[in-house]
């Protein structure tokens, strides 16, 4: 684990369980997920649609849509527990100590207000500053996120900016109150590749300069490879594997991770066929017993059908798979 005991982790998610009660029974969307993010560390959270990666971010932000709820587990931020706080206390943390960036920069901004008004409102919500100071800060922030002519852009409306510029404004908004933790949920998915490269580079620089911890949620392993220090691979609401990005990409341990890496088309690869994981991720109302991946797994053992594997250290990574039963490393 990276978080050194002297400082302690910035974010510590312990055995998180998120449930959605429905008429036909309780759906478990996140099941026993544990993650840690050290200060200044970028943790990638990767998985396919429905794996629970966005919900993990929402749970940390305290933004689960009812009837969704945290049914078990704890979330600690900078040593203090935050999952059991009242709505008003959470609101003071969100934006102040935890910033958030979401996928679509157009829906994240209010079309009826100038970008300057939106940024100064956020600054004045969290910090005790005058209107003039807020304006100065806002312009400085716009400059920091790479917006040319920030003083002019301050008075423009979101529709006057391009997609990449809007995402920069969203990033500026998330940074207003200098949060210690940033949750970035698919921050580049809606952008073109050349814009995506610029935003990745910007986020990487801000993380470096400010020493923020980041939870980077994405389906794109390429973005993870470019930005993250460690990565957690989620499958059916559970952590299949967690480890250093290099290890997970080059030496995946869990059969799902192996399949996922083989399924990604790579430039310059000579293989004519991609690795294929047959079947699809189970629906929430039909998660198999034992290991959730066992019906699609080519290396399953009898044990996988009955017993659920727990995260086990294997060569620096932690893997939830019966192929790695003990401390083999």
């Amino acid at each position: 684990m990276t978080g050194s005991p002297a400082t302690g982790p910035l974010l510590d998610v312990r055995h998180l369980r998120v449930e959605f009660p429905t008429r036909r029974g309780v759906l478990v969307a996140i099941d026993d997920v544990s993650l840690r993010i050290a200060p200044g560390e970028v943790l990638g959270v990767v998985g396919e649609s429905g794996a629970g990666k966005s919900l993990t971010g929402m749970a940390v932000l305290g933004l689960l849509q009812p009837p969704g709820r945290i049914a078990a587990g704890e979330i600690h931020l900078q040593g203090g527990r935050i999952d059991n706080l009242a709505a008003a206390q959470l609101r003071a943390i969100r934006g102040r100590r935890i910033g958030a960036i979401f996928q679509d920069p157009l829906t994240a901004l209010d079309p009826l207000f100038t970008v300057g008004a939106q940024i100064t409102e956020t600054i004045r919500t969290h910090l005790q500053v005058t209107a003039n100071e807020a304006r100065e800060r806002a312009v400085a922030l716009l400059r920091e996120v790479g917006i040319p002519a920030p003083a002019q852009r301050f008075d423009q409306y979101p529709h006057q900016l391009s997609g990449g510029m809007r995402q920069r404004v969203v990033i500026a908004l998330a940074l207003c109150a200098e949060p210690a933790l940033l949750i970035a949920d698919e921050p580049t998915t809606a952008l073109d590749v050349s814009t995506q490269a610029q935003i990745i580079e910007l986020l990487a620089r801000l993380v470096r300069d400010r020493g923020m911890g980041v939870m980077l949620i994405t389906h794109d392993m390429g973005v993870i490879a470019a930005m993250a220090d460690r990565v957690a691979v989620l499958y059916a609401g559970r952590v299949a594997e967690i480890g250093l990005v290099r290890d997970v990409i080059q030496r995946p341990r869990h059969p799902y991770t192996t399949g996922l890496m083989g399924a990604i088309p790579k430039r310059g690869s000579l293989a004519t066929r991609l690795t294929q994981i047959d079947g699809a991720m189970p629906r929430l109302d039909a998660i198999p017993g034992g290991c959730a991946f066992h019906p699609r797994c080519e290396r399953r053992l009898d044990r996988c059908l009955r017993e659920r594997p727990q995260p086990t250290p294997a060569d620096g990574s932690e893997v939830s798979c019966w192929l790695y039963p003990d401390d083999a490393s």
Binding site: D192, V193, S194, H219, L274, I277
Partner: protein, 345 residues
């Protein structure tokens, strides 16, 4: 080029404009002129039988417009689109006679399998519709058995014909789209971002399926994608588009491993690559300009590190850079700037 047999699809200086003027009364009040957006301009390319030509580019570069021009869903404003030597007939010009026979030979697969299947039709009716329209089956019994074959060909079951699209996952729906496209025994398939709405493991299933079908049925693909890794995986030849024009066109290995046009190099540098974990990449300045007011000369010049006075004034033509590769760039033609080093895996 050294291929004697005529191309299956040929675009000859094709252009397509769209009228994006504000409503008449607004124009009158603000004295604004009509506005035309040039979505595709002066594109010439050929697709040979059995090959996959992939077109890549960022949003708004005109690649989807080109796909629609290829199958007659749009009529070109300038130039000609020829399929097997004959002009492609507009899709809205009725389905009988020569138009029907031509249309049967070309089909399209769309990006979003949630929007491209009628939710109120059973899968059997969706896949069987081209069979009925083109009169390819004598009766219901024959239709049902052909639909069953088609579904099995794409890895579904004949029994799935009785189900509705909502009962299937995204990947399975895209298989249904493929089965429908194959039902009229086409030679030519236009695939517009067929996997970009899918998760990677499902994308791998669909890409493998498309490759198997091509080998088995001798299909010709025009493959539209923004994902260069996917293109590297499926294409024989690659065309790179920027603001409505093809800027580089050639065999896949040339275009992706030895890119010549500065834009192609920029695109290739911009994709995060799994092998590059932890390595800083150069950032590329600027964004795609507004196609309503494209820059003068070479439309890429504001972002190009090699741009000079000529690039600002004169639009470069797509000219041979080697025997197989065409590039539209003054710098490449004049031999100014860098020769790209070999880019390995």
């Amino acid at each position: 080029m050294t291929h004697p047999d005529p191309p299956l699809l040929a675009l000859e200086q094709v252009g397509r404009d769209f009228d994006v003027s504000p409503p008449w009364i607004d124009r009158l009040l603000s004295r604004a002129p009509r506005q035309r957006l040039v979505a595709v301009d002066d594109v010439s390319l050929q697709i040979r039988r059995g090959e996959t030509l992939a077109l890549v580019g960022e949003s708004g570069c005109g690649k989807s417009t080109l796909a629609r021009l290829a199958v007659g869903l749009y009529v070109p404003t300038r130039g000609r689109v020829l399929f097997d030597g004959r002009a492609v007939i507009a899709a809205d010009s009725g389905g009988s006679g020569a138009a029907g026979r031509q249309r049967q030979r070309m089909q399209m697969i769309f990006q979003d399998p949630y929007a491209s299947l009628n939710p109120r039709w059973r899968v059997g009716a969706i896949v069987g519709e081209p069979l009925r329209v083109h009169g390819l089956v004598p009766d219901r019994v024959a239709e049902r058995s052909r639909v069953g074959e088609l579904l099995e060909q794409v890895g579904l079951s004949a029994r799935d014909a009785a189900r509705y699209p909502h009962e299937f996952s995204g990947g399975q729906r895209q298989r249904i789209s493929v089965a429908r496209a194959l039902s009229s025994n086409p030679e030519f398939l236009v695939c517009d971002e067929p996997t970009s709405a899918l998760d990677v493991s499902v994308q791998a299933q669909v890409l493998n399926l498309m490759r198997d079908l091509q080998a088995r049925l001798g299909l010709t693909y025009l493959f539209i994608s923004h994902n260069l890794a996917v293109v590297d995986h499926v294409a024989d030849r690659v065309g790179v588009m920027y603001l409505g024009r093809v800027v580089e066109l050639g065999p896949r290995d040339d275009v992706l491993n030895r890119p010549r046009h500065p834009y192609t190099r920029l695109l290739l540098d911009a994709i995060p690559d799994l092998s590059m974990a932890g390595i800083a990449r150069p950032a590329i300045p600027g964004e795609v300009p507004n196609p309503l007011s494209p820059p003068s000369g070479c439309t890429f010049h504001p972002r190009c590190p090699l741009a000079n006075e000529r690039c600002r004034n004169e639009q470069p033509a797509l000219l041979p850079a080697t025997a197989d590769v065409l590039v539209a760039c003054h710098a490449v033609q004049e031999g100014r700037g860098l020769i790209a080093p070999e880019r390995g895996a």
